[in-house]
């Protein structure tokens, strides 16, 4: 099987997976006790208003019709309208999503680079003080709550040293860069706006480091364990016996073979990252999907919750898909 047919097969497999996910979200929000519309008003509403409200949202239709409306809407990117302001949820999310995506990308890059580098160092200094120090760091950062670390970093860099802003996405005194992707750093880069780029980077730095540090612990441990295993494999010794350089052996042999489980973890952590983003966004007052979800929950906005969860779900499916394809690209044995 070639890489191409593997990719096609894997993409096709994603379709039933996503369908199942969409159906599950739909069902869960409708089997929970109580009428979502009634709950939205916290049961304090007259029947006529409630009826009009339901009609406007299409909730008066039979359930299967609602289901097909929901699927049909999703196919064209329509996530329904909000219970709160009757605005399309897709518009809400389009406004919030770039902030979360930006945070997620920088955090995962930081976590993987930092975590893998520390893990490699740790495995190469096995059972020596450096190794113990790195392992301790990995455990501590893995256990520390993201909002707590966020607050400590805010205190150190924002209040004490006063070198970095502690909340928001951009300096309110200036206009953000022209919107292309909605991610300020990317937009600034695309429009070659160095000034905006520096501001945007300063704002994204602390949240990314916070979330990245909390996430890197698992990569430290995973890299270390897998490296210790691959470093003892026959082909690593055989490479040494051929006189290959330490760099080639460490990265091309030991790490390359240890990297597959790390790849899987990146995909899995992506889901955790979105959950982590809820707390990080709250800590740093970033208006992203995480804070949006909390906002929707506070407003008992069931259609809003449904839309956000669906977007999160599809996102995770896409990331796992990309990871699996990368996996096949990296490991020739999977392709065959």
């Amino acid at each position: 099987m070639s890489l191409r047919s593997y990719i096609i097969g894997r993409v096709l497999m994603t379709i039933p997976m996503v369908m199942f996910l969409l159906t599950l979200v739909f069902i869960i929000l409708r089997v929970i006790p109580g009428d979502p519309a009634l709950l939205h008003f916290e049961k304090n509403v007259d029947p006529a208003t409630l009826e009009a409200f339901k009609q406007r949202l299409g909730m008066d239709k039979p359930i299967w019709e609602q289901y097909f409306d929901y699927l049909g809407g999703l196919a064209v990117g329509d996530l329904g309208i909000s219970m709160q302001d009757f605005a399309p949820i897709s518009e809400h999310i389009a406004g919030r999503f770039p902030a979360t995506l930006e945070l997620t990308i920088y955090s995962i890059i930081f976590a993987v680079l930092f975590g893998v580098a520390l893990g490699v160092k740790s495995s190469k200094t096995y059972d020596r003080p450096t190794d113990h120090g790195i392992r301790l760091f990995g455990i501590v950062t893995y256990a520390i709550p993201v909002f707590f670390l966020g607050m400590i970093l805010q205190f150190i860099f924002g209040i004490w040293l006063q070198v970095l802003p502690v909340n928001g996405r951009f300096d309110p005194h200036y206009a953000p860069p022209t919107r292309i992707t909605g991610m300020y750093t990317i937009d600034a880069l695309l429009t070659m706006n160095t000034f905006a780029l520096i501001i945007a980077l300063r704002y994204i730095l602390l949240p990314s480091i916070t979330l990245g540090t909390v996430l890197c612990g698992i990569f430290v441990r995973l890299t270390r364990t897998n490296m210790l295993e691959t470093i003892r494999m026959d082909f690593v010794v055989a490479a040494e016996a051929r006189g290959l350089s330490d760099r080639v052996i460490t990265y091309g042999y030991a790490l390359r073979n240890a990297f597959l489980p790390i790849m899987t973890m990146i995909g899995l952590q992506f889901a955790a990252l979105l959950a982590g983003a809820v707390l990080t966004e709250t800590t740093f007052n970033l208006l992203g999907l995480g804070t949006y979800l909390i906002d929707r929950i506070n407003h008992r906005d069931y259609t809003g919750i449904q839309g956000t969860v669906v977007v999160f779900g599809i996102l995770v499916s896409i990331v796992t898909l990309v990871m699996d394809i990368l996996y096949a690209y990296l490991d020739p044995r999977i392709r065959l």
């Binding site: 082909f235 010794v237 055989a238 016996a241 051929r242 006189g243 290959l244 350089s245 073979n257 020739p332």
Partner: protein, 336 residues
Amino acid sequence: MVDVLRIKDLIVEYTTQRGTARAVDRVSLTLGENRTLGLAGESGCGKSTLGRSLMKLVPYPGKIVSGDIILNIDHDITWKKGTIKKGDVSILELNDDQLRMIRGSEIAYIFQDPMTSLNPMLSIGKHFIQIQQAHDPTIEDEQALERAKEVLESLGILAERVDDYPHQFSGGMRQRVMIGLGLVLRPRLLIADEPTTSLDVIVEAQILEEMAELKEKFNLTMILITHNLGVLAQTADDVAIMYTGRLAELAPTEALFENPQHPYTEALLQSVPDVTKPDKKLAWIPGAPPDLVNPPDGCMFNPRCPFAMDICKQEEPPLIQSDTGGLVACHLYGRS
């Protein structure tokens, strides 16, 4: 005749929680140019450790305690950071860089299990490129691949298979690839550590035949480590029998097989099955090799030896000249 390799009083120890085990105990050997030395003994007798220590690649936590390993090099080796002058070189005095230049180019090592000795992530061609560039960074990829194709073809592997990955080869083919990797830089000394143990007998015979041809073609000096005495009878000029890290007997192959001196050698030969005599009861050696952390006094073989005398339990037998033109360490000899 030039001595390609001289080992003097080599001691290798493994430090474990239980204590120190001496895996190689005062071994001295000399290996003339274009000779093949067979190294045989039970599992755990130190034959692989001896082989690995010749490249200073003793597996952790083993350590070369004392002794000397002198390799004769017939040309100057020059690389970016230094040179090694031709002539006798003491392996144990080389730094990591110098060792790296010797490994793979002057001494090649072929490992027991070809299934695990190649990096599953890299194509066969890439393996050949890496070893050539590790010793000469000026070689271009294309050049290295051309050379790889030549070597593979001489081993009966189609040139176009350089792009294939290890998992696409059978065990015998992989071992041929390993041999090719060992020979691509025209080493002086080839150490083959049970190269055919994991292969079936037909392939084993083919590979041994090919190795004998290659040895003539490339003027190789060879150490063949094995527990299969039949293999040595066919290929070795001299055979060294090891027991508990010490040399028990060293003799020209024919003399050793026809007239074994050491009781251990004799017992080993008795335990080889003979297909022409299916009714023959296999002799086996009672007991097990002693615990190397707490070795017995005197001759290490005395607890299992049918000829053990009082002196065997007290004094370690020295290695003395035997009547058959070899060396033997046994109290049965050398006394009038």
